[in-house]
């Protein structure tokens, strides 16, 4: 039972500081959000001085709000195309293809991919502005379409491409290390029996890294669903066309001043995150 020999009292003493921090920075804000979510609390105006408890009204209103449903749909698209498909597939392809190239090419490519992951968001946003803006944007000049304002005319596509570029590094790293766990003898056998590249991946590699795929997909889905960088690029515009949930919540809370309403929406986002996590955990367990 007490394998470390500390005794209950001392064990509690050791974990207490960590639990206290978790309590202050995780549990308390979450409870606080739940509480604000049932009030009509606002940033300014009369409801800022005397907030009233309105019960579940905020949740009901959110579910009926076309802006909210629009936002849920956009978030789903964003997660599906940029994370589940984009980062996953590109990350795996990079990891798979870079195994067999010369070390300097592998390191250079990995370095560049990593760079896009570790640069600060604001810096990256400015770079992408320079690429996608109208008249003097790099992309417009390259394609001979300087009058196209990519972030305004193709907001979601731009965000999805951006997020694939931004986040692929993680998937690449994870798959690189998981591929090392595939026994070389099995790959060699596959080669000898004349399996094609795709057959090898499907029948030899995938069964070995299935757990990694699920873990990776879970992590990048949650990160992408909660990612705020889209705000730096499009601020949710034009006219709500790229307003993913974190952006909607921010705009409702701080630009619209509706702190109570926005908190209720964050709670729905939290519930969504938990649902995604549960599905993945189920899949993982079934594998085991």
């Amino acid at each position: 039972m007490d394998s470390s020999g500390l005794g209950v009292r001392r064990a509690v003493g050791f974990v207490a500081p960590a639990l206290l921090l978790i309590g202050i920075f995780l549990v308390f804000p979450a409870l606080w959000t739940l509480y604000i979510g049932i009030t009509n609390y606002q940033l300014t105006g009369a409801a800022a001085a005397n907030p009233q408890v309105v019960g579940l009204d905020n949740l009901v209103e959110a579910v009926r709000d076309p802006l909210f449903t629009n936002s849920v749909w956009l978030t789903a698209l964003f997660v599906l195309f940029s994370a589940v498909i984009g980062q996953n597939v590109l990350g795996f392809l990079l990891a798979w293809l870079l195994r067999s190239v010369s070390p300097w090419l592998r390191r250079t490519t990995e370095g560049l991919v990593l760079l896009s992951w570790i640069l600060p968001s604001t810096v990256v946003a400015f770079l992408w502005f320079a690429v996608l803006s109208r008249d003097t944007g790099t992309l417009g000049l390259l394609l001979g379409q300087p009058e196209t304002s990519w972030l305004v005319q193709y907001p979601m596509t731009s965000l999805i491409v951006f997020n694939i570029w931004r986040g692929t590094a993680f998937s690449m790293l994870l798959y690189t290390s998981s591929l090392a766990a595939v026994p070389p003898s099995q790959l060699e056998t596959a080669r000898l029996v004349g399996a094609s590249g795709w057959q090898t991946v499907r029948d030899v590699v995938f069964p070995h890294i299935r757990g990694h795929v699920l873990t990776n997909t879970l992590l990048i889905s949650l990160w992408t669903a909660n990612d705020f960088t889209p705000f730096l690029l499009t601020s949710g515009g034009p006219n709500h066309q790229s307003e993913v949930l974190p952006v909607l919540i921010y705009r409702q809370a701080l630009e619209g001043g509706q702190l109570g309403y926005a908190s209720a929406m964050s709670m729905l986002l939290l519930v969504g995150n938990l649902a995604i996590a549960l599905v993945y955990l189920r899949l993982l367990r079934r594998r085991a």
Binding site: A48, V152, G237
Partner: protein, 459 residues
């Protein structure tokens, strides 16, 4: 573990009970005799950036002078200037968060239209509650209408920083190329659209910039919807009700439709994150023909030396005209021409450590000498009549505002609900610009309005 959980819950409950809607009050004479004081002034102005002239003035004139004045009285004053250079909405959010958490500067420059919300939230308080006696000879110099910018619900909250007026600015060079008169004064909306149609023939020129959409924020309402609405004869707030999907609102939306659906305006620009700033740059590069703005545009945007989109040939190239009503006599009060005005207000933070000294600083900022110095040789409609009498004569544009625009202008209703109505109007223009029909948009606008202010307040 159980104990920690209980503790966490206790902390949570304690804070929950105390934090929402907290209010504070204090002794107005606290620290009145302090020998060492620190005051911070906050403005949406930055040296070398937004509102650079005001920032230079605070940094290089106000702070050294006021420190000297205090030193002569044996007080060591440290005056800090917190500079900002961001969009008005972001600045407002920042100030609201500062005040909400009991922080923020001692003197804060805000837009007069935010006064109602901040006051209702208890984030700012009537001036006499904050500093005590507010007697000051300067009040006599500030006209009643301008003082009203610093009042809410009949109480004085701050000292206004002047006022402004809105006109149509146009590029004389482009007008000459399009065969339009150098001295232009449209008499109706149709006149403006006709001029736009002629400007359309010029390569690479956007004929008309009428702000639209939520990205431009209050600039859409103030430099777009409200002047247009005033031109239909019915102000946005009348007899205790906000205008819903009335014929007048539909007229305004139809005007937007004509401009942005008919190739007279650039719909993409309205939706860009930095559209307003970009419209200024385009105007200064002779790529926009007509633009509705306040005299701020003349003073701080295309101003040849310090403007954010400076035009070296401003005086020759930029013309101005009154904003016409839909047709002659169709404007509010049967007017032929209309305008809207607003202005900034300086307020004192109720949480200041030095209320009396903050009030003294406020008087200093609004003294005739300081106000005149703030203009740095240029002209502006300041809060003080004595200063205006001296400086406006030198600038034809500002004299025009004082003589022709102020007599016909209107102010926004200083109500806490106004920002919500404004946001609904912005959304309505955004929808029209992105191609929806004015009738559908008007209906959606009414629904948004009812949700924001309640059915009983919509007319």
């Amino acid at each position: 573990m159980g104990r920690t959980k209980v503790f966490g819950l206790l902390v949570a409950c304690g804070l929950l009970a105390g934090c929402l809607g907290q209010t504070q009050s204090g002794d107005q004479a606290r620290n009145a005799d302090a020998k060492e004081i620190t005051l911070t002034i906050v403005a949406n102005a930055a040296v070398g950036g937004k509102n650079a002239r005001g920032a230079n003035w605070i940094q290089n004139w106000v702070i050294p002078r006021f420190t000297e004045v205090q030193k002569a009285k044996g007080v060591t004053a440290t005056i800090k200037f917190e500079q900002n250079g961001t969009g008005d909405e972001d600045f407002k959010t920042k100030v609201a968060l500062d005040l909400k958490t009991g922080g923020g500067g001692d003197i804060i420059e805000i837009d007069g239209i935010w006064l109602g919300e901040f006051a209702q939230a208890g984030q700012i308080k009537p001036l006499d509650e904050v500093v005590g006696d507010t007697g000051w000879d300067g009040w006599n110099q500030i006209p009643e209408a301008v003082q009203g910018l610093g009042e809410f619900d009949g109480k004085r909250y701050g000292v206004p920083m002047g006022t402004d007026g809105r006109v149509l600015f146009y590029n004389r060079k482009l007008f000459a190329q399009a065969g339009l008169p150098a001295d232009w004064q449209p008499k109706s909306w149709q006149d403006v659209l006709d001029a736009g149609a002629k400007l359309k023939s010029l390569q690479g020129v956007t004929p008309i910039q009428l702000n639209a959409g939520s990205a431009m924020g209050e600039a859409t309402t103030m430099q777009g919807v409200l002047p247009a609405l005033a031109g239909t004869g019915r102000p946005v707030y009348e007899n205790g009700k906000w205008q819903g999907d009335s014929a007048q609102v539909k007229d305004v939306l139809a005007l937007y439709r004509k401009i942005y659906g008919g190739g007279l305006g650039d719909p993409v620009l309205q939706q860009e994150a930095n559209g307003r700033q970009r419209s200024f740059t385009l105007f200064s590069e002779n790529k926009i023909g007509v633009l509705l703005e306040s005299d701020y545009f003349w003073r701080s945007v295309v101003e040849p030396k310090n403007g954010v989109a400076a035009m070296a040939d401003r005086d020759a190239a930029v013309g101005w005209a009154l904003v016409p009503a839909r047709e002659p006599k169709a404007g509010v009060g049967g007017q032929d021409f209309v305008s809207m005005s607003g202005g900034g207000v300086r307020v004192i933070n109720p949480n200041t450590q030095y209320p009396r000294q903050a009030w003294e600083f406020m008087q200093f900022l609004n003294s005739a000498e300081a106000v005149k110095e703030s203009l740095a040789g240029t002209a502006q409609l300041t809060q003080r009549q004595d200063v205006n009498d001296q400086v406006l004569g030198g600038d034809p544009m500002l004299s025009f505002i004082a003589e022709k625009v102020l007599p016909i202008t209107r102010y926004r209703p200083g109500l806490a609900d106004y920002p919500k109505v404004s946001a609904a109007l912005q959304q309505a223009t955004a929808d029209v610009v992105s191609g929806e029909s004015p009738d559908d948009v008007a209906r959606a606008y009414r629904e948004a309005l009812v949700k924001a202010v309640g059915e009983q307040n919509v007319g």
